[in-house]
Amino acid sequence: MADTTIDVRQAQFDDTEDIDRTEVRSYWQLARQRFVHHRLAVAGAITLVALIVLSLVVPAIAGDTLRVSASRSFAPPEIFNDEGDMTLAILGYSRTGYNIFGVLMAATGTSLMIGFAAVLIIVIIGVSVGSVAGFAGGWVDNVLMRVVDIALALPGLFIIIAFVAFWGASIWSIIIAIGITGWTLAARLVRAEFLSLREADYVQAARALGASPRRIIMRHMLPPAFAPIIVAASLGVADSVVLEAALSFLGFGISADQASLGTLLNVAFEYLNREPYLVLFPSIVLVLIVLAANFLGDGMRDALDPRQRVEER
């Protein structure tokens, strides 16, 4: 009865065998495939992961050698010390006797943590503001965008400096300061994505099916909006790390007794005449972080939002 109709109907179309030839691949699986193709992006991802791992592992292993000690002044590079303990002092020791590599990795860890944490705050505020503005439209959008305009008009750098001066030069005050001054780009990106998605046919279809606004946002609008967010976030990490380094270098960031790439540069600058190489190492790490984050961001963007380009063999 119904089955013969369906068989006849399917025969009329008879066009789905091509599909069986390929494996089932979801959008995210395809994105991952595209990402993996992008060699620089993969290199960037590996570099960042390596830095994170090193920043956690090396200071733990180096242990005591992170502190100054006159007896180790200018000691040569080593992996194990005389007692046979692992120190990983592969860059040797400074004039004041601390494990250069160990301190470098500890500083990297601090800088990366500040970078990621600040970006997290940026994403939370930015996505909230942007999605509400983009979804609601009308006067809500207008008001929120004026708030963004005001936030942009205020001089971010000075606000951060003032914030840190007021709340003390701790890691958390820097994180929060960078976070609350840097969310405007993310908000605009999300808003733009939401505004265009509101008109997308599949969003309209979901509304026509009776889906609640919450479901529409969570299921249909946020996932595509994440593409620009992830890209902005990876670039944002680089920005935040450099910002912290600059502030700490100038003495406006975290205090010099805590190791971050910026404070290392601050100290190294003072000793430029006697130990010029001390400037080199934090700078190299900073460059690595920025390059890696940029390549990663590029790769993410191409993976999540590909332009249909026919790749040449």
């Binding site: 179309f13 008879d14 066009d15 091509d18 026919v310 790749e311 040449e312 063999r313």
Partner: protein, 354 residues
């Protein structure tokens, strides 16, 4: 008058054209052995659906194919000169001068930062010794010829100030300003409303008559072909599957694809209860069938269709790429023939150059 016109030869001859795209996922044979010609002052309709290769054919004629595409074989003779062996310099001179092209989307074909008059004038100055003032005069003249009212004022306007129909007229004016022998129109009215389409087609009819201009009209709209073309070429998956005079193609089509296409479109003047259907879908270029490319969808399929069918003559000035005889029956060599026997029979029947 050109040499070929004097001798009575065709204006444009395309012989065995093959344009392939070399991609990561495989080679796409977008145009795979296409042969046809256009006579002086004649309008040839090139019909087909997406993926048939009609646009790529026209871009190949204009030598506008870019990587990863490449013209890998064939000849394109314009007035007897092979465009494919000509130097870049020579091709640039020919483009816009002897052969002009108009595209589907007038908004993206016109440069938004120049006025319409400037763009037409540029084309004129490129190919003649005209000065910029003379070029502008010619531009205003052409805008009038294509029926744009108040041409002098319009010439100083920018594309975004004009409607879609107007922009398409500007494109036609630009294409015709150098008095080309051949106009290639790639879906010129598809993006336009139907009443505007009627206006544009009327302009084209007027101009081809006045200038004795040949037109290669590429479209998927059979109605437009019926109204405008003298001869028709039907393309499918990169090959020509049928060619003939417009009345023959519409009144007595031979190839099952052409037949299927004609009977599946809803007609304004007739009403049927149920439309005929061509089952299945266009094959993926990465997964083409062996033998006849249409066989999976063909209601007349025979075992011999696993061997590539000959491009045979089925009537006066009428050819079709199919195993069926002109009368529509199984071929003499037998519907079950295969392998060498079938190939030999095919070679005897085919009129296409290898």
């Amino acid at each position: 008058m050109t040499a070929s016109a004097r001798s009575g030869g065709p204006l444009l001859e395309i012989k065995g054209l093959k344009t392939h795209f070399f991609t990561q996922d495989g080679t796409v044979k977008a145009v795979d052995g296409v042969t046809f010609e256009i006579g002086h002052g004649q309008t040839l309709g090139v019909v087909g659906e997406s993926g048939c290769g009609k646009s790529i054919t026209s871009l190949s004629v204009m030598r506008l194919i870019e990587r990863p595409g490449k013209i890998v074989a064939g000849e394109i003779l314009l007035n007897g000169d092979d465009l494919l062996t000509a130097s870049d310099e020579e091709v640039r001179e020919i483009r816009g001068d002897q052969v002009s092209m108009i595209f589907q989307e007038p908004m993206t074909s016109l440069n938004p930062v120049f006025t319409c008059g400037e763009q037409i004038s540029e084309a004129v100055q490129q190919h003649t010794s005209a000065s910029s003032r003379e070029g502008m005069d010619r531009a205003i003249e052409m805008l009038g010829v294509v029926g744009i009212p108040d041409a002098k004022r319009r010439a100083h306007e920018y594309p975004h100030q004009l409607s879609g129909g107007m922009r398409q007229r500007v494109m036609i004016a630009m294409a015709l300003s150098t008095d080309p022998d051949l106009l290639i129109a790639d879906e010129p009215t598809t993006a336009l409303d139907v009443t505007i389409q009627a206006q544009i087609l009327e302009v084209m009819r007027d101009l081809r008559q006045k200038n004795r201009m040949a037109i290669m009209l590429i479209t998927h709209d059979l109605g437009v072909v019926a109204e405008m073309a003298d001869e028709v070429v039907v393309m499918y998956s990169g090959k020509v599957v049928e060619r003939g005079d417009v009345r023959t193609i519409f009144g007595n089509p031979h190839h099952p694809y052409t037949k299927g296409l004609l009977s599946s479109i809803p007609r304004l003047d007739e009403r049927v209860e149920r439309l005929e259907v061509i089952k299945g879908t266009v094959p993926s270029p990465y997964n083409l069938p062996t033998g006849c490319l249409f066989k999976r969808r063909c209601p007349y399929r025979m075992p011999i269709c696993d061997v590539a069918p000959p491009y045979q003559v089925v009537g006066e000035e009428h050819a079709s790429r199919c195993w069926l005889t002109p009368a529509g029956e199984a071929p003499d060599v037998g519907a079950d023939a295969s392998g060498e026997e079938a190939e030999r029979a095919g070679e005897l029947l085919t009129v296409e150059p290898r």
